[in-house]
């Protein structure tokens, strides 16, 4: 079974700053479960000028009671692949969990573009797919849990980005 999620939101900050904040977003007070984040690969395509990055993120998991029998190690590794095209001002990021995939696989794609109505703002389109291959009637429950958890996390991730963006704005104001 698969569940889909789609959402569009915006930041009242310029695209440049939002993409910069994306790199700076850990640590932040809304992501205390993120204990490590590494750049595995990064290169600029010589032809297109697109920056492509692969990062590995370690999250210390918090499991519901029924999940403790399914998962021995609650740590989750996340792979995050991204492309930044400065010419078209588009950043696309794709994340998915590397372990616990049989219990649940969450794939998220985010697209950051200049807001169509205000060039000083940024629009973020989020699409996610949540898949569980568990049997014995657990699938629906796991996916329902997954979508709720995913939405909780999206709110936290947004708050984290907003926090970093505010800090960047303050720093810029100080430097001016």
């Amino acid at each position: 079974m698969v569940k889909f999620y789609q959402h569009t939101s915006s930041f009242e900050h310029a695209w440049d700053n939002v993409t910069y904040a994306f790199w700076l977003r850990y640590p932040n007070p809304f992501a205390s479960h993120v204990v490590g984040c590494d750049v595995v690969d990064r290169q600029v395509d010589p032809v297109t000028g697109v920056l492509r990055t692969t990062r590995l993120i370690l999250k210390q998991g918090v499991l519901p009671r029924w999940g403790r029998g399914l998962i021995k190690n609650p740590d989750a590794y996340i792979i995050e692949e991204s492309e930044v095209d400065p010419r078209t001002q588009t950043m696309v990021t794709r994340t998915k969990n590397l372990n616990h995939v049989r219990v649940m696989q969450v794939e998220e794609t985010q697209t950051f573009t200049v807001h169509p109505e205000n060039p000083k703002w940024t629009q973020v389109k989020t699409e996610a797919r949540i898949i569980s291959e568990l049997k014995w009637g657990l699938t629906g429950r796991v996916e329902a849990f997954g979508i709720n958890k995913f939405m909780d996390n999206s709110v936290k991730a947004r708050k984290g980005m907003a926090h970093i963006l505010e800090r960047l704005r303050q720093n810029a104001a100080l430097a001016a």
């Binding site: 790199w23 984040c37 590494d38 750049v39 290169q43 600029v44 697109v50 930044v84």
Partner: protein, 89 residues
């Protein structure tokens, strides 16, 4: 700046992050993609690769990266993205 998954890599990781952050905001976004942090990235990656091996994450990561995350992308080096940072010269 965030810590590395490998404790011993955190210092070099943060040095690299510092370099990347200024390159990204001051150069890359302004249209200058000339690399600046390759030496630091090389050192950092050396440390990180050891950590990934120790934690047995290397194969997990390699498997996950087999799928092209950007099949519609214009990025021409997509198929060799797994090799190393060589092409960022």
């Amino acid at each position: 700046m965030s810590s590395s998954i490998g404790e011993k890599c955190t210092q070099i990781k943060q040095e690299y992050d510092g370099c990347f952050n200024s390159w990204y905001s001051e150069k890359f976004l302004k249209g200058d993609a000339t690399p600046k942090c390759d030496d630091l990235f090389f050192k950092y990656k050396e440390c990180l690769l050891k950590t990934l091996e120790e934690k047995k994450l290397d194969t997990l990561l390699a498997d996950a990266r087999k799928d092209n995350p950007f099949p519609n992308s214009a990025s021409s080096s997509a198929s060799s993205a797994g090799s190393s940072s060589e092409s960022s010269k």
